[in-house]
Amino acid sequence: MVFMVASTALGQEKYSIDDSDYTNTNVEMADQFRAEGKIYVVVAVVLLILAGMFVYIIRTDRKAASLEKKLAEIKGLDKE
């Protein structure tokens, strides 16, 4: 493992990820943070913002569609 990392550092060969990388507790990750369930707060917040952005873009879409309709009406009336 250490050898592989070292050889990658020298740019000699690619280091491929395997199962040991998922269990390697020597590498510090946000384990505690996850264990306490706080990651779900982050996910919920980001999802809420994403949902807000989608609502906004859908409303803008609808507004554009209604403007299109209005324009078509004006042109239609003038032709009569």
Binding site: V5, T8, A9, L10, G11, Q12, K14, Y15, S16, I17, D21, Y22, T23, N24, T25, N26, V27, E28, M29, A30, I39, V42, V43, V46, L47, L50, F54, I57, I58, T60, D61, R62, A64, A65, L67, E68, K69, L71, A72, I74, K75, L77, D78
Partner: protein
């Protein structure tokens, strides 16, 4: 233009589902525990799709530029400009997120990495495209010159991002030795989110472009029929 009541297209639902999946999977799924990267490996699902998205949106843009030059239809120029604008937005977000990530993993926001420099130059070329559009008054002249420039800009983008960084050593994956991150695309667990993230973010860009195209077409129609509209009121 259809006058039917606008339906909510399937691909918009797909975009929403893909991005929700990206957020959930990107934050919650297991990731490999790698030195230097640690949890920031998850940035993969947010930073890299900006570049994939930018390229795809700029391909759309250049295709519409070719179409404009061939058929001289105003709508093709409108589409080309809208895709270029959202593509550049993605590029700016890519640069900024990349700088944040590089500061953590490579030690400083700007490392003079060939791919970083190439991306910055490419963005400057596209800024010039947007300025050029604003500088020209005559709509037909604007459309023609912008289309030609856009084709040249795209022809520069490819070597700057995909060829030059490979000729030298780069910190970016796939461009020479990179101790921080060199094999992510070989990992199936990351791939299970990454490809969907690329699709989702790109489709969001496409969506924004479509909305802008719609608004721009309305603007053109108002300008072309100004007298009629005044009479109507």
């Amino acid at each position: 233009m259809s006058t039917k009541k606008q339906k909510f297209q399937w691909w918009k639902w797909t975009t929403i589902i893909l991005l929700v999946y990206t957020i959930i999977g990107g934050f919650l799924f297991d990731v490999p525990r790698l030195i230097i990267l640690n949890e920031t490996v998850r940035v993969l699902h947010f930073h890299v799709p900006m570049w994939f998205g930018m390229i795809i949106l700029l391909v759309y843009s250049v295709v519409y530029s070719f179409r404009y030059l061939r058929y001289q239809r105003e709508i093709d120029d409108i589409k080309s400009a809208a895709f270029a604008k959202i593509g550049v937005w993605f590029g700016i977000l890519g640069i900024l997120t990349g700088m944040l990530w590089a500061n953590y993993t490579w030690g400083s926001p700007w490392n003079g990495d060939p791919k970083q420099n190439g991306a910055a130059i490419a963005l400057l070329i596209y800024f010039a495209y947007l300025l050029l559009r604003n500088a020209l008054e005559d709509p037909q002249q604007k459309a023609r010159i912008a289309s030609v420039y856009n084709i040249f800009a795209f022809a520069m983008l490819i070597p700057l991002l995909f060829i030059l960084p490979r000729l030298t050593d780069s910190l970016h994956p796939g461009n020479g030795g990179n101790p921080g991150f060199n094999a992510y695309d070989l990992d199936s667990k990351l791939r299970a989110v990454f490809y969907f993230a690329v699709a989702g973010w790109t489709m969001l860009g496409y969506w924004v472009a479509q909305t802008n195209i719609k608004l721009e077409v309305i603007k053109q129609k108002i300008e072309d029929n100004y007298e009629e509209i005044l009479k109507h009121n």
